[in-house]
Symmetry: C2
Subunit: 152 residues, 2 copies
């Protein structure tokens, strides 16, 4: 009998909220990745965008924290960016454990064309949403992020 301990309305509301968040994430991500498809994968784009906005490049562990992915994962992504001539590795001479990931000049040019295009795609995707809906979502999602950041 699965009804042994039925959920309260407040509990069901939280589950429903999560399912809706997952659905929105997946639907939007599909649109956005198909709008970049010919140029770049989303993970590669995320790495490029992070490096672009930081002078002097970023280490794998710094990138790993910002993008919420494991460092092992980044190895492959950066390999591919390097192979495309968009990024390069540069060992930190002060601490040879660390490797900075930097943009090549082509990578910088590439970013300056691609980032505004991607931002436009995001804006376009949510254009019809009411301005106050957007504001509410921002602050409510901030509340969730604060909750989750403060765990362990």
């Amino acid at each position: 009998m699965p009804e042994r301990n039925p959920l309260s309305a407040a509990e069901r509301a939280r589950i429903g909220m999560w399912l809706r968040l997952v659905r929105c994430y997946n639907l939007a991500l599909r649109e956005l990745s198909s709008s970049l498809r010919e140029d770049c994968t989303i993970p590669q784009f995320d790495v490029l965008a992070q490096i672009r906005r930081s002078e002097d490049g970023l280490t794998f562990s710094a990138l790993s924290e910002r993008l919420l992915v494991t460092a092992g994962n980044l190895t492959g992504i950066v390999d591919r960016l390097e192979k495309r001539g968009l990024a390069r590795r540069e060992v930190n001479p002060k601490d040879r454990r660390q490797t900075f990931i930097k943009l090549t000049p082509e990578g910088t040019k590439y970013c300056d064309e691609l980032i505004p295009r991607h931002e436009k795609a995001i804006v376009e995707l949510f254009r019809e949403l009411g301005d106050n809906t957007v504001q509410n979502l921002r602050s409510d999602l901030d509340a969730i992020a604060a909750l989750l950041d403060s765990r362990d």
Copy 2:
């Protein structure tokens, strides 16, 4: 000069909203998948949960629509569930192109233990969130989903 066409406040708000949504999704997904880790991957769980709540099983294409993944992807996931003895394939005798995915008795037992546990993990993760925050998020996310569903 990347400042050629600066974004309006409303545009920046939409981009910020999306970035927050991505962050919340990733943070929460990490917690939830680690709470299932020893038992099941999230995609396998999603397939099990869908089949569990539908009598007579589901076809690959029905599952594909509900879970927003490609059918090619499901082949591998169902293979693994079959190998674990939790699910089985059953060709539709009325239309031999279709395959129903059904739970084995062990699969049903497994679901009835795992699903409540996963629901509890979700509830626990968002417990501290205010009830009206939850309600607002539900309806605002519904607005996004409606927007995205109505595309092409």
